[in-house]
Each structure stands twice: as structure tokens, then as C-alpha cells.
């Protein structure tokens, strides 16, 4: 059943798939690789934090774990530099999930604001560990097997793997939204105690969601490590990463399917572009800050929700004009009127 909505998705994937064929400038394909990485991460982050309302600011734990998994395994397994290393991308995701279980088990014992603080604390534990442990290479990081694919075509395989992660994360997020489990996450967001009183096993649901969302972020971290070829603890365990994917999702629309995709597409692409053109790597922070203020002030639910509301409101206005009478009668909702007498 290829409905109109699905057709848009197919079209979007087609456009993204065509991108490196149409745009061959390595500068722009590099930006595209980073953009897919962030689109995948923001979508995955939203799948837990957006649906459950538990704003996690420690996803860099998963990103870094994935990156170090890629680096350490490719080095210790003496892998040949090349496309074989892509097999380690999902492995990075799985390792991130392994870390997510105890992380979630601890952090999800507390609610809301305290949870945010705990995630930040856990994040710093990981960053400091990466800096101080010997096997991670400390502050000098790790150099991965050097891939020699040539300047012109280097980015393309990375781009398609990144795009696959985006498609995977989006499909998973959509599936979760449609499942009983997803409904339970939304119930937890709206009223966790009440959900508990309706039989929802809240701890199990939260930890599962948290762990599930770690996969794509870890895989993206592994892809990042392979792409840049050299990782440092302060770049793969980067607090800006946590803030970025949260901001992207807020910008697009927290808890929506397209919101994080759109937010990451706009923010990451423009950040990379600004960094490259002005060779100033912190200029984007000003842009982020300004954009964030605008969104919070004018469309606090994000761009996607704002636009959707506008569209439905316009449709409603038109309908109202046509059938004002119908609406007037439907408006007066009097529950329990006739039904009472007939109750048996």
C-alpha cells in the first residue's frame, strides 16, 4: 500500500540517494556525510527522549563508544584499510547498546531534571576515562587504518552508509511510534505514575527505549571514526554533540518523526558550511543560539509541528466557513445524556 505519505518518503530517499551523483564536489559531499550522521543520531535520540520526555544529554557516550569500537577493533584485528571496516559500523552500535543498559539502569531511576544531570555526569565519566586510560591512546587518540580511496570518490561509500543509518533510524522510530511499546513511552511522557497504575512496566520500557536508541548513535560514531581516520577523546566524547542533537530535534519538533531529520539537515549542513567557508569553527554556535531563541519564542513545539498546525488550521477555517451549522451542534458536548437511561 503505497499511500501518498509513503510516496513522499520514497521520493525523499531517492533525492538523497541521487545527491553524490549530482553533487561531486568533495567539499559538499563531506558536509553531506556529517549531515547524515547527525540526522541518524538526532532521529535515534528523539526515539527515546522525544517520545518519553526524558531529555538525555549523554548520547555522546554511545557515539564515543561506537567510535572507539571501530578504532580499537580495526587496529587489533589488523583489518585491511577499506570497505571491510564498514562491518564494524553495526558492531559499534551493539557495543553502545551494551553500555546503554547499565547507564540507563542507573540514570532512569530518577525523574526528569535529575535524569538530565545524571546523563551529563555519566558522559564526563566516559570522556575522562577515554582521556586517562592507556588502551584508548589518551589525549593523542587513535589513528585508524589509513584508507586510500582517492580524493574524488572517497566520500561516496561513507555517504551511502550514513544514509542507510538515517533510513534505518527513521524506520525504527516509525515502527516504535506505531507499536504498543511506543504508546507506552508516550504515556510515560504524559504521566509516568498514572501509566504505572495502568499496568505499564515503566522501568523496563524506559531502559529498553534508551538502549534501543543507543544503537544508531553508536553505529554513527563508528562511521565517523572510520571517516575521519583519527579520533580524539574530546571530539568523540563531545558535550557539544549532546547539545547539538537535542537542539536539532527541538528545532524540528520534539517527538515527531520528521522533526529531527529536518533539524539535523538544516543545522548540521549550515554548521559545516559556515565552518568551511569562514574557516571559523565556532561561528555556528552563534547561529545555533540565535535560531534556538527564535524557535523557542515563536514555535516552541518545533518547525514541523508549527507548520502542521498552520496547515490544519487553514483547512479547519475553510471547513468552518462551509459548515458553520454542523460545527455549532457538534460543539456542545454533553456526555452521559441519553446513554444513562439505557445502561444495563
Amino acid at each position: 500500500m503505497l499511500q501518498k505519505k509513503n510516496l513522499w518518503w520514497v521520493l525523499a530517499i531517492a533525492v538523497f540517494a541521487m545527491y553524490p551523483i549530482v553533487v561531486t564536489n568533495p567539499l559538499f559531499t563531506t558536509i553531506a556525510v556529517f549531515t547524515t550522521i547527525y540526522m541518524a543520531c538526532a532521529t535515534s535520540w528523539n526515539m527515546f527522549s522525544g517520545y518519553s520526555g526524558y531529555i538525555a544529554l549523554g548520547s555522546a557516550v554511545f557515539y564515543g563508544s561506537g567510535a572507539y569500537t571501530m578504532a580499537l577493533l580495526s587496529l587489533h584485528l589488523h583489518m585491511a584499510a577499506g570497505s571491510d571496516m564498514f562491518w564494524l559500523v553495526p558492531v559499534g552500535g551493539l557495543v553502545a547498546m551494551v553500555f546503554a543498559v547499565p547507564f540507563g539502569w542507573i540514570a532512569l531511576r530518577v525523574r526528569r531534571h535529575t535524569f538530565v544531570v545524571i546523563t551529563i555526569a555519566v558522559f564526563f565519566i566516559f570522556q575522562l576515562s577515554a582521556i586517562n586510560f592507556g588502551f584508548t591512546g589518551g589525549t593523542s587518540g587513535l589513528a585508524l587504518p589509513f584508507i586510500t580511496w582517492g580524493y574524488q570518490n572517497f566520500n561516496t561509500p561513507f555517504y551511502y552508509v550514513g544514509l542507510s543509518l538515517v533510513v534505518f533510524a527513521t524506520a525504527l522510530s516509525a515502527a516504535v511510534r506505531r507499536s504498543r511499546f511506543g504508546l507506552q513511552l508516550l504515556a510515560i511522557r504524559d504521566d509516568e505514575d498514572r501509566a504505572m497504575g495502568l499496568g505499564v512496566k515503566v522501568s523496563a520500557v524506559k531502559i529498553t527505549g534508551f538502549t534501543l536508541s543507543a544503537f544508531t548513535v553508536g553505529a554513527a560514531g563508528a562511521l565517523y571514526a572510520m571517516f575521519v581516520g583519527q579520533i580524539y577523546p574530546q571530539f568523540v566524547f563531545d558535550p557539544m554533540f549532546d547539545v547539538s542533537i537535542a537542539l536539532m530535534t527541538f528545532l524540528g519538533g520534539l517527538g515527531t518523526l520528521t522533526g529531527p531529520l529536518l533539524g539535523a539537515l538544516v543545522l548540521e549542513a549550515s554548521q559545516q558550511y559556515l565552518t568551511v567557508t569562514f574557516s571559523n569553527s565556532s561561528l555556528y554556535l552563534i547561529l545555533f543560539g540565535a535560531l534556538f531563541l527564535i524557535v523557542i519564542m515563536f514555535m516552541p513545539q518545533g518547525v514541523v509541528v508549527y507548520l502542521r498546525d498552520r496547515v490544519t488550521r487553514r483547512a479547519e477555517r475553510e471547513r468552518e466557513a462551509v459548515a458553520a451549522n454542523d460545527l455549532a451542534t457538534a460543539d456542545a458536548v454533553a456526555p452521559l445524556d441519553v446513554a444513562v437511561g439505557g445502561a444495563h
Binding site: G199, P335, L336
Partner: protein, 259 residues
Amino acid sequence: MDVLLSATGVTKSFGGLQALAECHLDVERGSVTGLIGPNGSGKTTLFNVITGYVKPDAGTVTFDGRDITNARPDAVFSLGVGRTFQLTRIFARISVLENMLIATQHDESWLRGLLRSKSSKVEVDNAMELLEFVGIARLAHLQAGALSYGQRKLLELAYVLVANPDVILLDEPAGGVNLTLINGIKEKIRALNKSGKTFLIVEHNMEFVMSLCDRVTVMHQGTNLVTGTPAEVRANPLVLDAYLGGDDDDDLTEAVAGA
């Protein structure tokens, strides 16, 4: 007497405040049992202990012969004890129908929840039937946050019913709703009780309690003061004292005396 739900010697303090002191309560199978008492007498705390939201310092809670003391709220619910809250609690940002679906399949494992779709046709039909029963079926696809206070009360009753619990604890079902709706809720409770559901109701509206309940337990300062039929309770001087003693509930005193 076939006791379905019972609390024995339940004691709970919050810091220096003794909320429950050796409280006893029996709910007979198939009855509508009322729980009344001045504000602060521990009614809601007792509800919270029974449904697993608060752990008692001492005492036991049994349901259908099983010890459910200290069981988690989701486990208590899965066994067949449903409840509503004093201030209605619904899931505001999902649709009314989705609210109804949360309690379905409450006993399935979380892993299955991950793999199955939000709802089957049977579940949706059942949910719609219950919404029809409480009279808000036409609001099914509205976001629940858009409902009025009275409609929220009805939704809360309906989604507790989804899981078909044996006993339903209602915390002030008539609080803050108009007379027509109060009578409507009363009728619903009667109809459900006739079909075999047991009720335990906390309510300040004396007319509501006295006309609906088979037995009434009066609580005072964290313990059960008097238990009996509505007529017995009304005639008992201790009850009046309990209400008169509490200086915060003058209207209730009059209500008890006059009802």
C-alpha cells in the same frame, strides 16, 4: 462474608505525620463500599498503599487471598485492582482512543509490546464500546488534553475498565462535576456493579455515598472508626464527632447529619 480486598493493620507515617495507624478495611466481593472521613483522615493514603504507590510501614494488603503488600502499581493493576485519582490524570498529548489502549494487554511481557502494533481491531472495538458506555465515544480521536474536567473523569473511568479489573477504587468520582454528571456516574457504577464489579469509593458527597454504597467505612486520624450500612453509619454518634472534631469540614458535618 466473601472478602475480595482487605487491608489489615496498615500503618504509614510521613516524617512526623502519622497518616495511617493500624487501619483495617474489608471490601466484600460484589459490593460497593464507601470510604469517608474528614480531610486528612488517610483515605487517599490508604488507596495509595493498596495500589502500590506507597509502601506501608506495617500491615498487609490482600486481594483475592493473595498478599499484595508492597507489590508495584503495575503488578497490582495486572492482578485486577484498578483505580482513578482524585485529581484526574489522563495522558494529555495523545488521543482519547490511545489513552484507552494503554491499559489493554497490561499483562503481556514488555518484549511483546515492542513487537506488536499499538492496537488490534478487537482492542479498538472494546475501547470504543467503553467510550460509548461512558458517553464520550465521539471524542475518541481528539487529543485528550482538549477534554473538559468532567469528560476527563469519564475517560479515566473508561480506561481503567479496559483491563476489566475485579475491583475499582474511585477517588472522589463526584468531585468537581455537575449534578447531571454525578447522577450519570452513579448510574454507571450501579450498572457495572450489577455486572459483577466491586467498588471502593472515596467521596465527600454524602448523598452520593449514602445512596450508592452497601457498606461504608468511616476513617478518622488514620484509622477505621466505624463500619456499617449507610443507615448505621449515619446514626452513629462517633461519626458526627469525627467530623465535628475536624474544624476544616463544617459543610460535611452538616451533610452527614442531614443525609
